[in-house]
Every structure is written in C-alpha cells, then in structure tokens.
C-alpha cells in the first residue's frame, strides 16, 4: 500500500471486495445474456441455416478449447487453495499453468478464425455474403460472441500477469489473497460463458 495522506485509516473488507466482484459478474451475465437472447431469436427464425452453420465450425478446436478452459478453472482454484495454505511456490506454478492455458486458448482461436477468414467467411466477407441471411446471422453471432469472449480471456491474461507479480512480491499471501480470489471468480465466469457458447455454436446440429 502506498502511503496516502488522504486516507489515514486502513480500510480492508474482503467480504465487501468479493461482493463487489459478484456484482460485476451479474453485470457480465446480463451483457452476455442479451447476446444469448439475440441468438435464441435468430435461431428460432432460421433453424435450418443455424443447423448447417453448426456443421461448418471446427468441432475439434472447440472441444479442445472447452477441455482447456475447464482444466484452467481447476488450476486457478488450486492456486487459491495453495495461497491459503501459504504455499507460495505452488500458487505461482498453478497460476502460471492457468496463464499458459489461456494463451493456448487464444492461439487455437487464432487458427480457428484464421481458417475461416481465409475463405472469406467473415462479416462483410464475399463468401459469406453469397450465402443466405440465416448463415450471415449465424456467423455474425459466432464472431461477435466468441470475439467478446476472447476479449475477456485477454483481460484475464492481464489479471493473471498482475496477480502473478503480486504473489512474487509477497503482496498477495496467505492472509491477504482477495485479488487472487476475485481473479479466480472472474475466470470461472469466463469459463462458464464458454460452457454455454460451446454447445450453441459447435454441438447443436
């Protein structure tokens, strides 16, 4: 804590911090909730196009990324358990693994998107515009929803790097680990949103 003459009392309230994080998660859920709503409306109106669209996406990469995210949710939870027990090294290792998995997720995404963009399958792309309205909507939503999700992964990576530094510098330790805990909560949110995106785009045929 830097010395700040303005606030002479040290206010610390882990419960309050966690409550704040949960409220932020509610906000995020409403944000994605609206996207799911839009998806539901357009799937209802274009059932065939959405079914065919689901056969076009790469189920292998989608499945791989799902497994990766589930594992990373476990490792970040393990990192929290480790820090609670005062095992700094373990916490750093588990957090490092989580960070690595997040990066691999984005690399996979890059190849997945890249393959489609190469063939002109992107919003405004020629190959996509030749297809019907339903397909345009399916891929429009596909890019928007997985794109905004990927942005959340990116923010997560930033948080992991920050928290990693803080643990190394002993700013986060066995009696003060709310930053790590809230980062973990955020990461579970990113995970659970993917758990819904995955079947909607990759599995329902």
């Amino acid at each position: 804590m830097e010395k700040n003459a303005e606030h002479t009392h040290v206010h610390r309230d882990d419960e309050g911090d966690k409550l704040g994080m949960w409220l932020f998660i509610f906000t995020e859920l409403l944000l994605f909730g609206m996207l799911f709503l839009i998806y539901a409306v357009y799937r209802y109106r274009n059932p065939v196009a959405f079914q065919l669209g689901g056969e076009e996406v790469d189920v292998f990469i989608g499945t791989l990324n799902t497994v990766l995210l589930l594992v990373s949710s476990a490792t970040v939870a393990m990192s929290i358990s480790a820090i609670q027990k005062g095992l700094k090294k373990h916490a750093l290792v588990f957090l490092g693994i989580t960070l690595l998995i997040a990066l691999v997720f984005l690399v996979n995404k890059y190849f997945e998107w890249g393959a489609k963009i190469e063939y002109g399958f992107y919003p405004g792309g020629e190959a996509l515009l030749e297809l019907g309205h339903g397909t345009i909507l399916f891929f429009g939503l596909y890019y928007v929803m997985t794109g905004i999700h990927a942005l959340h992964i990116l923010i997560g990576i930033g948080l992991f790097i920050y928290v990693f530094q803080q643990i190394r510098a002993d700013k986060i330790h066995s009696t003060d680990y709310i930053w790590l805990e809230n980062t973990g909560l955020y990461w579970h949110l990113v995970d659970i949103i993917w758990i819904f995106l995955f079947p909607l785009f990759y599995l329902i045929h």
């Binding site: 700040n4 009392h9 509610f26 906000t27 345009i136 928007v144």
Partner: protein
C-alpha cells in the same frame, strides 16, 4: 502522524493531501471531492445542452427557417439528448449527491472502493471526451437522436461511432458507481443502522444501483453491436443482411426504460428527505416508501415495450406492456400520497429547498398522469412521436430529476460548502424557473394532441400560437436557470460562512457531521439507535 491528526480537523475543502492545487482534486479519492468533481463537470455540460435546447426553441418560434436548417436542427436535438441523458441525468443525483452524502448518511468514512470511485469519474470524463469528438471529426455531427435507432444509425454518413463508444464508456462509469454503492450500503452502515433505520435517500440509491448494475450492460452490448454493424457489417440489426431493426428497439428500451428510473428514483429519495425536515414531522409510511422504491426498480424492467406500441408487436404483448405500465404507476403514486400525508398537519417551514420539493410533486404528477395517457394503447397511437411525448418526458426527467436536483443542492448546500446561499435570489430564481418551465412545456401537450410531430425543425401555421408561448417560456426558464446558477456559484465563493452543523433541523446523520465535513467525516463513528425522521 501530526499531519494526519491535523487533517482530521480541517474541512475536506481545505486539507492538503499528497497532491496540491487542482491535482489534489482530480486525483483525490475522497468521496466528497469526487461528488463535487461530478457537480462541476455536469454544470458545464448542462449549460451547453441547455443552450442547445434554447436554440431549438428559438428556431421553433416561427414556422420555416428562422435560425437553422433541418440538418443543424437534427444535430442539435441529437446532441442535446446525448448530453442531457448520458452525461447529466443518468449519472445525475447518484454521482453528485450519492457520492457526497451516502457515506455521511450511513455513518461511513467513505464509499467501499474509493479508488474505483475516482476511476468512475475519470472514465466518465473520458466518455465525455469521446462523445465530443463526434461533433468535430468525421463527416458531420450525429443526427440520429439519442436513441440511435437502427437501421438509420448505420446508414447515415454522420460520425456516429464516437457517440456510441462514448455512451458505452459512460455506461461503464455508471456500472462501477452502482457496484460501489451496493457494497457500501451492505458493508459500511454504522453500528445500529439496520436496513429499516436507513434514511430514504440511501434506500433509493440502493434501488438505483441495482438497476445500474443489471440494466446498463444491456445498452452496452446494444451500442457495441451497433458499432460493429457500422464498422464490420455483422448484420444483427441490418434488414439487408437478415437482421431485425425492431430487435434493436427492444434491446435499447430494455435498458433505457429502467434508465428513467435510474434518473428519477434518487430524486424521489431527495424529496423524501426534504419533506419531513421542512414539515417537522415524521415521514408518513417509511416502509411503504422503501418498498415502493424497490417495486419501481423491479417492475420498471418489464415495461419497455410501451415505447414501441406503434413499432409492431403482437396484441398480447401490447396488452401486457400496457398493463405493466399502469402497474408501475402505483408505487410512484404511493410516494406522492405519503409526501402529502407527511405535510398534513405538519409545521411547514417555507424555505427554498421546500419550495423546490413541493413544485417537484406538482410537475411529477403532471408528468406521471401524462405517462398513463401514453401508456394506454388507444391514446398512444394518436400521441406517439408527437410533442406530447416531449412534454411528458421533460415533465418527468427535467421536472422530476431536474427539480429534485435543485432541491437537493439547496438543501445540502451549507453542508457541502460551509456557506449559506442567498435565500432571496434563490427564491426569485425558483419562481422564474418554475413559471418558465410551465410556460415552456405545458403548450407542448396541446401541440401534441393537435398532432404536431416531434423532431422537425418546421411546422404547419396552425401550431404557431402555442409554439410562440413555448419558446418564450424557454427563454424565461433559461433566465431562471441563470439566476439560480449565478446565485449558487456566487454563494459558494462569497456566501455567508457558516459552521452550523444542522441549519435546517434535519434528523439524518449527515447533519451531525461538521460543516463542511472533515476529511474522514467523523471523529468517532456515530451510533444509531432510532429510526430517521423522529420528530
């Protein structure tokens, strides 16, 4: 140590922190300074948007081209709307008076997350700057209206993207303030202050904060999708690509209707503070006011469809939305009843804050009843998109939020600045403003019923008489606003100094703090044993 003890006794306006001069303000995490930062920012932009409004009314003083053409007029009502909605009334009372008085009223030293609070203001300022770039860069200022309706918002050549992005960023600021207030109220109430011993302004802030948290992301994603529609052409709202522009309207109003409760609820809280103090009487039906605030926040989510009665919806949906709209009027009426019942047989004290509060009830009721007229299906078809809507909207949002804002600033002025405002000028300002307000907006009701559409720079000759009246009213109201603002700014600098803790005889906690409050508000955290408003 010696410095910190010293700073415990100087007022928040004067203490010297880590930074000096203006940096001591724009980098301060003190909730009181942040509240004033919001106040000053809003004062600047309110003046800009009010002048835009005045220019529009001058244009409408006669049919045809008087001082501007259609394109300029469109740009003006768009900018007037964007500034007034996203920069003034949505942050409005929570950002200024919520920040300043929520911790004081619940006996806390600050909000739960002071740094996040400062970040909210910075994000707010960044959002404003982004919105402003839309005026000066690109192919001309936005001309869509503040609603950004699809598909026009991605077909017009005007510079829409910065306005959308700016509004998105402003929403972020609003969400963070909401999170901060909910946590503050849950965690930082002083010992003894149970939920039902909490004053009513914090209660309305609490209801508002939940709407901020749960509704703002909806507009956030909608604005982002519109940005992507313009830049990438994803097709979600574009009928040419299979998208549905009506879906845009639904998503827009799923936020923007609850947003009017973000605007008005804290105002209702302020009035609930002022009425008992100036009636010297316990508030009538404390619990009913609390529960009606929560009910407004809840039911307010489910009425958005009444903005779209003419857009195309199933008959069943029309009836449901109309019914729910009537339903949401009940808790507002409960509040009006309670305020009037509080004043009944009270020892009324006629001072400026009380004048504002009572005139608030008057304009709020006209606004509310005209809302029911618009909420019923048959009359809506006739009145939709006419000046009747403009009149209703301004009676609620300007009459409601604006009057309660002015009530609040006169009520809390001595506590905020340690000086007294000039009461006679304040009262003259109120009379002129109130008269101007009614002259400006009442004729719009009849114009709307006669069929004058809104958002046109021109009109048929038969609407001329009422428009002259309305435009003169606008000038009168701006004159009143200038008297009020000049008086307040002058009084804040040169007004009579006062250290009196409780000039109005209020019973809530903020009147037990020093005037103006010290950095950490309290030497000893106050304890609460009885309900607020026990006279």
């Amino acid at each position: 140590m010696s410095e910190s003890t010293k700073s415990n006794h100087t007022s928040f306006l004067e203490y010297k922190g880590k930074y000096r001069g203006i940096l001591g303000w724009i980098l301060s995490t003190d909730h009181k300074r942040i509240g004033l930062l919001y106040l000053y920012t809003m004062l600047v932009f309110f003046s800009v948007a009010a002048i835009l409004g005045l220019l529009m009314k001058i244009q409408l003083i006669a049919p045809g081209h008087t001082i501007m053409g259609p394109a300029t007029y469109n740009a003006m009502f768009t900018m007037h709307g964007i500034i007034m909605i996203f920069i003034i009334v949505v942050p409005g009372l929570p950002a200024v008076f919520g920040n300043f008085f929520l911790p004081l009223m619940i006996g806390a030293k600050d909000v739960a997350f002071p740094k996040l609070n400062l970040a909210s203001w910075w994000i707010y300022v960044i959002g404003i700057l982004i919105v402003l770039t839309s005026q000066f860069l690109g192919d001309g200022p936005p001309d869509t209206g503040w609603t950004f309706y699809a598909p026009y918002s991605f077909q017009t050549p005007a510079n829409i993207v910065p306005a959308l992005v700016g509004a998105f960023v402003l929403g972020f600021s609003s969400i963070l303030t909401g999170i901060n207030f909910v946590v503050t109220i849950h965690r930082l109430r002083t010992p003894g202050m149970t939920w039902f011993k909490m004053p009513l302004f914090p209660w309305t802030l609490y209801a508002t904060a939940w709407i901020q948290i749960l509704a703002t992301p909806v507009i956030g994603i909608t604005l982002l999708l519109t940005v992507m529609e313009r830049t990438l052409g994803v097709g979600i709202f574009d009928p040419a690509l299979g998208g549905d522009p009506i879906l845009y309207q639904h998503l827009f109003w799923i936020y923007s209707h609850p947003a009017v409760y973000i605007m008005i609820l804290p105002g209702l809280g302020v009035i609930s503070e002022i009425i008992p103090v100036f009636s010297r009487k316990r508030i009538f039906g404390y619990k009913a006011i609390v529960l009606s605030s929560l009910a407004i926040a809840f039911v307010g989510y489910f009425v958005w469809g009444h903005h779209m009665f003419t857009s195309g919806m199933s008959g069943r949906a029309l009836f449901a939305f109309s019914f729910l709209t009537f339903l949401v009027a009940i808790p507002s009426a409960v509040k009006v009843f309670n305020w009037v019942a509080t004043m009944y047989k009270g020892s009324l004290i006629f001072q400026t804050p009380f004048f504002w509060a009572v005139s608030f009830i008057f304009v709020f009721m006209i606004g509310g009843f005209s809302g029911l007229t618009l909420g019923s299906l048959a009359t809506n078809v006739h009145l939709h998109d006419t000046h009747f809507v403009v009149a209703h909207f301004h009676f609620i949002v300007f009459g409601g939020t604006g009057f309660s804002f002015l009530a609040a600033i006169h009520y809390w002025f001595p506590k905020m600045f340690g000086r007294m405002f000039d009461a006679s000028w304040a009262n003259i300002g109120w009379v002129v403003f109130f008269a101007g307000f009614l002259t400006l907006y009442l004729p719009m009701f009849s114009l709307g019923i006669m069929g004058m559409p809104r958002r046109y720079y021109d009109y048929l000759p038969e609407f001329h008489a009422a428009n002259i009246l309305s435009s003169l009213g606008a000038m009168l109201m701006i004159a009143g606003a200038m008297i009020i603002i000049v008086n307040l700014v002058r009084s804040a600098r040169y007004g009579k100094k006062t250290n009196e803790k409780n000039p109005w005889g209020g019973k809530t906690l903020e009147w037990q703090a020093d005037t103006p409050p010290t950095l950490e508000n309290w030497e000893e955290i106050p304890e609460v044993t009885e309900k607020p408003y026990e006279y």
